[in-house]
């Protein structure tokens, strides 16, 4: 009797447990600590931050070292002084920041803003996407773009030709311009827009500026000039990476690296510092040009002698230098537009080029781009007086090697770009585009010259469409060859 009871009881137990087998484990497999979706407004700022981080972090330092604007001093960075020593994995972080954190999220924002009927926000996200993919293609050449699929259905997009990407970027920016001109929708969220506080007009000028920048990359100087004229037209509209004083969160990545993360790795030693140093034989100053303020803003002797990068600022103390913790880093600017116009003009006519270049110099002579307030650095002297045509004559002030005045002017403009774009990728792109028209003295003893970045190890590993073998670092990108 007892046994039967037990048997029945156990049988019942078994049956109920069988039935509840999957019920028991169901519906607890979503992370209680994570969020499942977001609207466009709450993704937008992440796109801006990802773009500015990509433009100012690891590979921006590599480019500076290879262009002899800085020098590797310790451990891994010593080997890095020779661009031939770099391996593909050095580019993983930069590449993934661009593709995953910036371009993907920008495309998600574009899609969501479209559904939310917010054309201005869609346009702004398109502008950032263009800035990011344009920079990527300028550094790596042929890269995946047209087949990028945010639904995750195509994990191995093909590599587009660099030329077709530049063409698509112009189309994307044209679309962005239409969207930014729209007057419907909730608009760009002011609180989330760290660059322009939600002002669509400023975004519009940025869109034209990027068109100018990328036409220049493919040597379409006429279109570059035409769009530069429609682009950023005053210092207040400059697109600047915005930083503050919190380590790992809002620090300028240069400062974070130079002071917090790797405090002895990188000095300012190199050709650029000597060009700006009034006490050096290579000094580029002359009777009409005094670089003392720009030199002090960029380089000092805080960590290294003779040249450290100037890391003064909110966290370190002192007057903000170019690489201070909270020093904003220019990414697309008024000065750049004037330089594009000057270069385009100089390539067609010496006179027009000189006049346009003097426009730029008069802007510099207000203290623009020197110091974080465009007003010079501390009490240091600066002077950028207008050049005369005679200054470019053979043996003139800016033509010591007696070449044609037009070539001398072009070389001067390109050298100015080398200094002006210090700390950004634009100088690296110029180096390949102009075959070192700026006459940069690279670090001696290394084979070839740095023309592009290596495809990253993650891409080699996981995307079978990655070109094999990967082009070396001294191979020109297609639009430059």
């Amino acid at each position: 009797m007892k046994n039967i009871t037990i048997k029945i009881a156990s049988l019942t137990l078994l049956l109920t447990t069988i039935l509840s087998c999957t019920d028991y484990v169901d519906k607890i497999n979503q992370d209680p600590d994570n969020i499942l979706d977001s609207d466009a407004t709450n993704i937008f700022q992440g796109v801006l931050l990802a773009d500015q981080f990509f433009q100012t972090s690891s590979t921006a330092r590599d480019a500076m070292i290879w262009l002899n604007q800085a020098n590797g001093e310790d451990r891994q960075y010593v080997a890095l002084n020779n661009w031939n020593n770099v391996t593909a994995s050095e580019f993983d972080d930069s590449w993934n920041n661009a593709y995953v954190n910036c371009i993907t999220q920008a495309k998600i924002t574009v899609e969501k803003a479209g559904k939310e009927a917010n054309p201005n926000l869609k346009g702004a996200a398109q502008v950032i996407e263009a800035h990011c993919i344009g920079t990527v293609t300028s550094l790596w050449g042929d890269v995946p773009y047209s087949e990028i699929d945010i639904t995750g259905k195509n994990l191995t997009p093909k590599y587009d030709s660099q030329a077709s990407i530049y063409t698509n970027i112009q189309k994307l920016l044209d679309d962005a311009i239409v969207n930014l001109n729209a007057t419907t929708g909730a608009g760009i969220p002011a609180a989330k827009d760290i660059f322009y506080g939600g002002n669509p007009d400023q975004w519009l000028r940025l869109a034209y500026s990027l068109k100018a920048k990328f036409y220049l990359h493919v040597k379409d100087y006429a279109n570059a000039k035409a769009n530069a004229i429609l682009g950023i037209s005053n210092p207040a509209d400059d697109l600047k990476a915005k930083f503050a004083n919190s380590y790992g969160q809002s620090f300028n990545p240069f400062y974070s690296f130079l002071v917090y993360d790797r405090d002895t790795y990188m000095s300012g030693d190199g050709y650029a510092a000597r060009l700006l140093d009034p006490s050096n034989a290579l000094y580029r100053g002359n009777a009409k040009t005094d670089e003392a303020a720009r030199f002090a803003f960029t380089y000092n002797q805080e960590y290294f002698s003779p040249y450290s990068l100037n890391i003064y600022g909110g966290d370190y103390g002192g007057t903000n230098g170019k690489f201070g913790s909270d020093s904003a880093m220019p990414m697309v600017s008024y000065g750049e537009m004037l330089l594009i116009i000057a270069e385009a003009d100089a390539r067609t006519s010496f006179a027009a080029g000189l006049s346009s270049y003097n426009n730029y110099r008069s802007l510099l002579n207000t203290g623009y781009s020197i110091g974080i307030n465009n007003s010079g650095y501390e009490t240091k002297i600066f002077s950028y007086l207008a050049y005369d045509a005679a200054d470019f004559d053979a043996g003139g002030m800016v033509n010591k090697t007696s070449i044609s005045n037009q070539n001398a002017l072009l070389a001067e403009i390109l050298q100015e770009r080398y200094i002006y774009f210090l700390g950004s990728f634009e100088g690296f792109s110029d180096f390949g585009r102009t075959n070192n028209g700026a006459g940069i003295q690279l670090k001696a003893g290394n084979t070839g010259s740095p023309q592009r970045f290596l495809y990253p190890q993650v891409e080699i590993n996981a995307n079978p469409n990655t070109p094999k073998p990967i082009p070396t670092i001294v191979t020109k990108t297609p639009v430059h060859s």
Binding site: L13, T17, K27, S58, N85, G248, Q249
Partner: protein, 1072 residues
């Protein structure tokens, strides 16, 4: 204090025993079966009384009896024996009872059942073997004790974990650790937080006191482990704790003291001083300075007009004036000794057991107090283990267990860590004295900066404007930085068994396991962390799991020749992690106690991670026994887990085992016993929780060199997670075949041999994706690996069983080969390590291969040289080494004569490689002996910088890479030839080693007739562990048996690992 307490307890117990049992004497004996194998759990009863005991794991028993009494020895499946207690030392051989099956053993589920013939290989380790090893950690004590089981200690840090691997790695990113089961309760072997930097992590198995363990069975095969389900995919370690025995209360007191030191000391050059290019330079990171012995030897001259450092010990230290370094004083040894010195530990344990006819109990209380070889590292564990068994009526038994451990420790920051001990210690130049690390910095004008840290790159301390010492002074890392940690661990379980009929028993059991792990890390201001601005974090991990089984089991006699032993049941389990904590940085006040008030709100963060999962499964096993020589077991498990959701399914895993005892009718005096085994089994591993969904995270990012951004300090933003969710996750399924033989020759030599082959498909892997995929990684079933191997174990009694000298030789040998046969979505997969040198899974390579930068080579394999004759760097990284050994083996012997016993054990791992990142990094700083060589140039040579070095004696090495001799000097070691260069290949070395793991001498003093304080016996023993180490690579400076990333799946990484230790232990064991 602890000792005093023990002493009091001993006295108390002694008094009780004196009063109760004074008139009797002890009869001791051993019970074995017909083959001489000891039988545990045999009932020994004094006839006509209720006094009785059970034999222990070794088949031994002790009972108080008068000479005229009779002992009744009984065991299920054996013929009952009665014999006189007139002798005090008995050897009893029980004959098998043909009418019943063999006796009780622990089955794979940890349940006591009548003996069934397992066809799958398992290894047994006795509890005493663990305690004799001298390791306070259970895992490390298992080292070299079983074939096919490889155990790698993370480091010699007190309480540090170990990596245990059975039959090679079966998973790539999932756990490779076996399931640990204590008395039927699955328990956690978590080792949370192991990475390339931070403190050495503890393994939660260390919470178990080895003194409480009676025995361990290691189930290696898939078929044996399968009834446990996915948790047992890497095998099962079944731990049986000590149980009470019927009879009087017996007390076992054990006290051990241990003296430890580093088993290998890093040898670093002391010839050249701080500086660069042969010139002494203060605060320089390198030791490429001048030759110390070439200095004048006069006292250094100081800049006494400038700033200075006033140390806590009262020394006033000025900066050395330019050109003022004259002293030849060398601090290479004193710097090392001050940080890594002598450790010690004490271990005290009392075990009390007893029982009546219906109830018995065991209570173990222990305390281990360890001071590590690394200065200021401590570990203290107090544990309590209680088990009881009660008979309720004739047919029902109730068992309960409760275990509790309290662990507190202070750990030291190590690894690749600017604020860690070893970076600063090994990099400090020989001519810099690390003492006087803490004090006050005064400017030349006399303005103080308190709590300044003095280190080799801040010769007069950190200042108010430069709080960063670059690398910590090692003594600052040990004494000023604190990493306190406390853990409360509890394990509880109940088991109710009802023998309903002869052929049906019902069993229900519940096991609970939980711990709360509280950690604090404090980097005070002036530490390297956060550039000297102060950083602190704390976390609490609350872990809880329960496991419930309902099962029916029994024996059925189908006919006279065929028997069936079956088991069927259901299993439910749940695992919950609640991890929370926070951090703050940029301290407002230079205070070292943890207070969230000491920072601005924007500098504080919190986190919460909750990870919950459940499983349910049903299982059965049917073991057929034909005439006791042919055995067939069929089994299976149907299982599902919450982590399959949203693709929730149940999966079935079958097993089959066949065993044939071919000596049944063979009457040979040579081959006295022999069994052939054949098994097949499948077992699964489940996906990790929550991986089916793509989430949105707070937008942010980092780059490998350190800088990062976080939208949380701007206006807040989200981004779609870079880790893609995958709704189509399936289990990893391992299929294993195993073939083996158990042979016994001359009744003395036992050999077990097993060959296995297994394949794990659908391995779950976080594949790092190309950024152009829009994700940086995706988790899914993307790989397959295969393992195959051979395991051998032997144990031989050399002398006759009648000899007064007992001499045993035992050992094990195993070989495992492993290969990744399929890897989708990526060519190689990062498991652990650094960007330029890591342990990876690579297609068609053994799992965990070392991966990194290489020299560029042409198609013929010759190095492509630059114009100066130096090698160049290959663009893409590749495989540079294999950390998997060719074979592992151990051999030991024990010799016993009367009351003396001596045993020793050697252990070896042959083949396999490691990446010696320590040496690579120290090349860069000019601290290795390699870089301190002085070469004599007979012709001028080029160095890597392109300079021509004239004839003469110069610091460096002459080498010919194929383009003629070149000079390797500072310019080479700090570029391509050093550890910070892109070529990791040159630092891959042999990881082969041989260890003299243990030597134990013991003497047992028998006092049972002397009646001294009721003590039956006193055993004195001395043990040496890790006494000697041979490594094939002579320049390692570290024990190759350590791993930087702990019990992670990445292997073979050496980067400023904490040293392993060697010890001398002395212990006294008292039995009452």
């Amino acid at each position: 204090m602890k000792l005093k307490f023990n002493g009091l307890l001993v006295l108390l117990v002694v008094l009780i025993t004196q009063i109760t049992f004074a008139q009797e004497r002890t009869v001791a004996g051993t019970v074995t079966d017909g083959n001489g194998i000891p039988i545990p759990g045999v009932n020994v009863l004094i006839k006509g009384t209720s006094n009785g005991v059970q034999t222990d794991f070794d088949g031994k028993f002790k009972i108080k009896a008068e000479a005229k009494q009779t002992l009744v020895v009984s065991y299920i499946g054996m013929l009952k024996q009665e014999l006189s207690a007139s002798s005090t030392s008995l050897k009893i051989t029980l004959k098998s009872d043909a009418t019943e099956l063999e006796g009780l053993v622990i089955n794979v589920l940890g349940v006591e059942v009548k003996k069934n013939q397992s066809a799958s290989a398992y290894s047994k380790v006795k509890g005493t073997v663990l305690t004799n090893s001298g390791e306070s950690s259970l895992l490390k004590g298992l080292s070299a004790k079983a074939s096919g089981v490889s155990i790698v200690s993370n480091s010699g840090d007190p309480g540090s974990g170990a990596y245990i691997q059975i039959r090679g790695q079966n998973s790539i990113t999932g756990s490779t650790q076996p399931l640990f089961v204590v008395d039927g309760i699955p328990i956690s072997s978590d080792e949370i937080g192991s990475s390339t930097q931070g403190v050495g992590q503890q393994n939660r198995m260390n919470d178990i006191n080895p003194n409480d363990i009676d025995g361990i069975q290691i189930l290696k095969g898939a078929s044996a482990a399968a009834l446990w389900g996915y948790r047992a995919a890497n095998g099962v370690v079944l731990i049986t704790t000590k149980k009470g025995k019927k009879g009087k209360i017996s007390v076992d007191v054990n006290s051990t003291v241990s003296f430890d030191k580093a088993n290998v000391r890093m040898a670093l050059q002391d010839v050249f001083g701080q500086g660069s290019a042969g010139v002494w330079k203060k605060n320089n990171s390198n030791s490429f300075g001048d030759k110390i012995s070439a200095r004048s030897g006069a006292a250094d001259t100081f800049n006494t007009a400038g700033a200075y450092f006033l140390s806590d010990t009262g020394n006033k230290i000025y900066s050395i004036a330019t050109g003022g370094k004259n002293s030849t004083a060398n601090f290479n040894n004193s710097n090392m000794d001050s940080a890594i010195g002598n450790g010690s530990s004490t271990d005290n344990h009392i075990g009390i057991s007893g029982g009546s006819e219906n109830t018995n109990f065991y209570l173990g209380v222990g305390n281990t107090n360890q001071k590590g070889i690394v200065r200021s590292s401590t570990y203290e564990r107090t544990s309590l283990d209680f088990t009881s068994q009660s008979k309720i009526g004739d047919k029902t038994t109730f068992k309960s267990k409760f275990g509790y451990s309290s662990v507190s420790s202070n750990r030291i920051q190590t690894g690749s860590n600017l604020s860690g001990l070893f970076l600063g210690l090994y990099r400090t130049p020989a001519d810099f004295d690390n003492r006087d690390y803490n004090g006050t910095y005064y400017t030349a004008a006399g303005v103080p900066h308190f709590n300044s840290q003095r280190a080799y790159r801040q010769d007069i301390g950190t200042t108010a404007t430069d709080l960063n010492p670059s690398y910590n002074n090692p003594l600052w890392s040990t004494d000023i930085q604190k990493n306190p940690n406390t853990v409360d661990r509890y394990i509880a379980g109940f088991e109710l068994k009802h023998d309903a009929t002869k052929w049906l028993s019902l069993l229900a059991r519940v096991g609970l396991d939980g711990y709360s792990d509280k950690r604090i890390t404090m980097f005070p201001m002036n530490s390297s962390e956060n550039a000297g601005h102060g950083s602190a974090n704390e976390s609490v991990t609350d872990f809880q799991q329960f496991n419930v089984d309902f099962m029916a089991l029994g024996d059925v006699k189908i006919n006279n020749d065929l028997g069936l032993n079956y088991l069927a049941g259901f299993n439910f389990a749940q695992t919950r992690y609640d991890q929370r904590g926070g951090s703050y940085k940029n301290f407002l006040i230079d205070a070292n106690n943890f207070s969230y008030d000491n920072a601005l709100i924007l500098d504080k963060t919190t986190f919460l991670n909750r990870t919950y999962s459940k499983l349910s499964g049903g299982y059965f096993s049917a073991a057929f026994d034909y005439k006791s020589y042919l055995f067939l077991t069929l089994g299976g498990r149907l299982e599902t887990s919450s982590t399959y959701s949203p693709n929730l399914k149940a999966y079935f895993y079958p097993t089959a085992e066949l065993a044939y005892k071919f000596t049944k009718n063979l009457d040979s005096s040579i081959l006295t016993d022999g069994k052939l085994r054949l098994t097949y089994g499948q077992i699964a591993s489940i996906p990790r929780p929550y991986a089916g969904t793509t989430y949105y995270n707070s937008a942010g990012g980092v780059e490998g060199w350190g800088p990062g951004y976080d939208s949380g300090v701007y206006a807040g933003s989200f981004q779609r997670s870079a880790a893609g969710g995958n709704p189509n996750l399936k289990p990893e399924i391992k299929t294993e075949f195993e073939f083996g033989a158990d042979l016994e020759f001359f009744r003395k030599i036992k050999i077990n041999a097993t060959y296995y082959t297994n394949e794990t498909k659908n391995l779950l892997v976080d594949v790092p994706l190309n950024g152009s995929s829009t994700f940086s990684s995706i988790y899914g079933n993307f790989a397959t690996i295969q393992n195959k191997g051979i395991e051998l174990e032997f144990d031989a009694s050399i002398l006759s069983s009648k000899s007064a000298v007992k001499w045993n030789v035992f050992g094990n040998w195993s070989k495992n080969t492993n290969k990744v046969t399929q890897l989708e979505g990526t060519e190689s997969l990062f498991l652990a390590g650094f960007t330029g040198s890591s342990s990876r899974a690579v297609l068609n390579q053994p799992l965990g291969v070392l991966w990194g930068g290489k020299f560029d080579r042409d198609a013929a394999g010759a190095m492509i040289l630059d114009s100066k004759g130096f090698p160049t760097v290959a663009i893409a990284e590749g495989v540079i080494g294999n950390p998997n050994p060719d074979w592992r083996g151990a051999i030991g012997t024990s010799l016993a004569y009367k009351n003396f016993k001596i045993s020793t054990l050697f252990d070896a791992s042959m083949g396999g490689q490691l990446w010696d990142g320590t040496s690579g990094a120290l090349h860069n700083f000019g601290r290795t002996w390699d870089t301190a060589n002085e070469a004599t140039l007979t012709t001028p040579l080029k160095n890597y910088a392109g300079s021509t070095i004239p004839v003469g004696t110069i610091r460096g090495n002459i080498q010919d890479f194929g383009g003629g001799p070149v000079l390797l000097d500072q310019s080479w070691y700090q570029s391509v030839g050093g550890g910070f260069g892109p070529v990791a290949e040159q630092f891959v070395k042999s990881a082969s080693w041989v260890k003299w793991r243990e030597l134990t001498l013991s003497y047992q003093l028998n006092l049972k007739d002397k009646k001294i304080l009721g003590i039956e016996s006193v055993t004195f023993s001395g043990t040496g562990r890790n006494l000697w180490l041979w490594t094939k690579a002579k320049d390692l400076g570290q024990d190759p048996e350590t791993n930087l990333t702990g019990a992670s799946n990445g292997r073979g990484l050496q980067y400023f690992n904490s040293p392993n230790s060697k010890s001398l232990l002395f212990s006294v064991n008292l039995k009452f």
